[in-house]
């Protein structure tokens, strides 16, 4: 297998970044997030998760869509979409990789979102198996295998080496072109690591949730469950859970007046917000309970009903870790998801 000694990883980053832009988990001021490699990054591929998920690459928090320039009665329309060239995202976990499939089903169906598509198609994704899954991880429930994270190239951190397993042509092309890699016999070690990860995942407290109730046919029953009141009681409506979530996909489109015209941009929105979806006049979901219910019903019931039963949660556990008041999707699943949740 192609591999590199872990203490030589900087050589790898440098070589990739000479070919194209490289983004990787970087520690800055005590928070881990994907950052562009500039030679100075405090790269951290040991910590499990970035605060913001990898969805930002394809669906950034804000982006310009189009500009309008007005001169007298003339309006010039200027395409504001960025030109994107091939770039590498390094260190994506299995859950985040799976979230791309969920987003694809929203952004790549007709009418295709060209801004998303542009970024998505030009990305080469190096995933990383999860040596130390966290107690808040519950990816297993969604058919995700943290020991085989998929993507263009799978990476395995074992025995002082990082091993590479290219899965797609574009992945192989990059890996084969890297002169800093060496050929190391690692299949056995990688296999042992995978088994170890699978064992760890099996033992996680949330690995075997009962989601059986979450079906389209139970929609009304679930919607009307009285438990939503207590589940949402402490919710601040802050939206942290939606902004760190790799599958939350709501956005708002607005116009900015600039000195010479108008800038149309889109930005993330959150169903947890009181000014979300100002339909005609106002948000039809008037209470925080209704907004809270929307977030989880969308993930566990509405989305799967429209998408062959695929849930729009990948069990990354970010909302579990980051909700200021510790309200989260696991508590929802345990309360109303099925009989086998104790």
């Amino acid at each position: 297998m192609k591999a590199i000694l872990k203490d030589k990883l900087n050589l790898l980053y440098e070589e990739i970044s000479k070919k194209c832009e490289l983004y990787l988990p970087t520690k800055e001021k005590g928070a881990l997030n994907f950052k562009k490699f500039d030679g100075e990054n405090e790269v951290d591929i040991e910590s499990l998760q970035t605060v913001k998920s990898a969805k930002d690459f394809f669906f950034p928090q804000t982006e310009d869509m189009v500009n309008f320039k007005t001169e007298g009665k003339n309006i010039e329309i200027i395409d504001a979409r960025e030109k994107i060239e091939t770039y590498v995202i390094f260190g994506v976990r299995a859950c985040d990789y799976k979230s791309f499939e969920i987003l694809d089903r929203v952004f790549l169906v007709e009418p295709v979102d060209t801004m998303y598509k542009n970024r998505r198609e030009n990305a080469v994704i190096f995933t990383l198996a999860c040596n130390n899954p966290h107690a808040s991880c519950f990816c297993k429930n969604f058919g995700i295998d943290a020991s085989s994270p998929k993507g263009d190239v799978e990476c395995y951190d074992v025995d002082g080496y990082l091993f590479f397993n290219p899965l797609t042509e574009k992945g192989a092309q990059i890996v084969n072109g890297l002169t800093c890699l060496e050929e190391v016999k690692g299949e056995d070690k990688v296999d042992a690591l995978k088994k170890d990860i699978t064992k760890k995942i099996e033992k996680l407290p949330f690995s075997n949730l009962d989601l059986s109730k979450f079906k389209g046919e139970n929609l009304m029953e679930l919607f009307n469950r009285p438990e939503w009141e207590e589940l949402s009681e402490a919710c601040l409506g802050c939206g942290t859970c939606t902004f760190v979530c790799p599958t939350c996909q709501c956005f708002d489109i607005r116009d900015f007046k600039t000195n010479s015209g108008i800038k149309r941009f889109r930005c993330w929105d959150s169903c947890m917000y009181s000014d979300f979806t100002q339909m005609a006049a106002e948000n039809p979901r008037k209470t925080q309970m209704q907004r809270y219910r929307q977030r989880f019903m969308h993930k566990l019931c509405y989305y799967p009903s429209n998408n062959d039963g695929i849930y729009s949660c990948v069990g990354c556990g970010r909302c579990v870790k980051k909700c200021p008041q510790s309200l989260n999707i696991v508590k929802v699943i345990k309360k109303i998801g099925g009989e086998k949740n104790d």
Binding site: E28, A31, A135, F206, L236, V244, S274
Partner: protein
């Protein structure tokens, strides 16, 4: 600390059973010891999920804005720092006091779960709490100070509100200076300071957790949420926008922020927001004499009252140029 939890729980039971209150605002068990949530308990039976431990950092006072407007009396448990927020909210006429029965609860400093992880404990299944030490998962002994929230490390607050206090041990004092980092920032050059805040605030994802949790942020409709204000907060388009948000917020809570530390506790990006507020607090102390917001419910605040002796804008306590 199990004894303390039992004492608080008995108090909750007693208040409900005697009919003194019809509801109790406290904390409810999560899946683990560390993921507790604020909760209103309506019956003694519901209290089976009641919890009071080192992870009850959440300040309950802000929930009273809505809860105190409902019918019947509600009991609320307040840690020392929470009592200041409570008083401040009462002062601002945001809480209907006649519907509240406030009970102070002992606090020896609350935990930051991330600090357990940083100490190498991957999963916190249980914590036996002592006054100065904690035993994690029945084996690892850690210094309590090493796993406390930042705000708790510098806390010397005493209960300033409450009809009664449930306390088994006196609170251990802190000898740390809460303005230490503010002083460091003041000693920086303007460029260094700007670089510091730029790095910190560029992490902000504008999730609004800091604002929504803040007891001083109690406007019915925040200007940043008002589509007619033309702020377009969600655009969050430039780093300048993030700075604007934080500067406006810091100004708006100046003189009213009690330094309860909730903003820094909840920030998903670990931005030390308390430093902005503490800079204001230390400036107010210098310009108007020592002042602690929330110490009482009636006095006039330094920035909300006018006297001829008030500091001029030019007196501002600037840092280095």
């Amino acid at each position: 600390m199990q004894r303390l939890e039992n004492a608080v729980l008995s108090k909750a039971k007693e208040l409900l059973e005697s009919g003194k209150v019809s509801r109790v605002l406290g904390w409810t068990k999560g899946e683990f010891c560390y993921d507790v949530s604020p909760c209103v308990f309506n019956t003694v039976d519901e209290l089976k999920n009641f919890v009071y431990n080192g992870f009850c950092g959440a300040n309950l006072s802000k929930y009273l804005i809505n809860e105190s407007k409902k019918e019947g009396k509600i009991a609320v448990f307040l840690k020392p720092c929470d009592t200041y927020s409570y008083n401040q909210l009462v002062k601002e006429h945001r809480i209907k006091v006649e519907n509240v029965y406030a009970v102070g609860v002992e606090c020896q400093g609350k935990f930051d779960i991330e600090k357990f992880y940083a100490k190498g404990v991957g999963f916190v299944a249980s914590v036996e709490e002592g006054l100065t030490e904690v035993k994690v998962n029945g084996e690892t002994v850690l210094n309590r100070n090493d796993v406390k929230l930042e705000r708790c490390l510098v806390c010397n607050k005493k209960h300033v509100a409450g009809e009664e206090i449930v306390e088994l041990n006196e609170k251990l004092p802190s000898d740390s200076d809460r303005f230490e980092m503010v002083k460091k920032l003041e000693a920086m050059t303007a460029d260094e300071r700007f670089a510091f805040w730029k790095k910190e605030l560029s992490k902000c994802i504008r999730c609004n957790a800091c604002r929504n949790v803040c007891p001083a942020c109690n406007c019915t409709k925040c200007v940043f949420d008002n589509p007619n204000s033309e702020v377009s907060a969600k655009a969050n388009a430039t780093s300048f926008e993030e700075q604007m948000f934080h500067i406006i917020r810091a100004f708006h809570v100046a003189g009213r922020c009690t330094d309860c530390g909730e903003c820094s506790r909840v920030c998903p990006q670990n931005i030390p927001l308390h430093l902005l507020n503490r800079k204001f607090i230390s400036d107010i102390d210098k310009l108007y004499g020592e002042y602690q917001a929330g110490e009482d419910t009636t006095s006039k605040g330094p920035l909300t009252s006018f006297t001829k002796e008030d500091a001029e804008p030019s007196d501002a306590v600037g840092g280095n140029k």
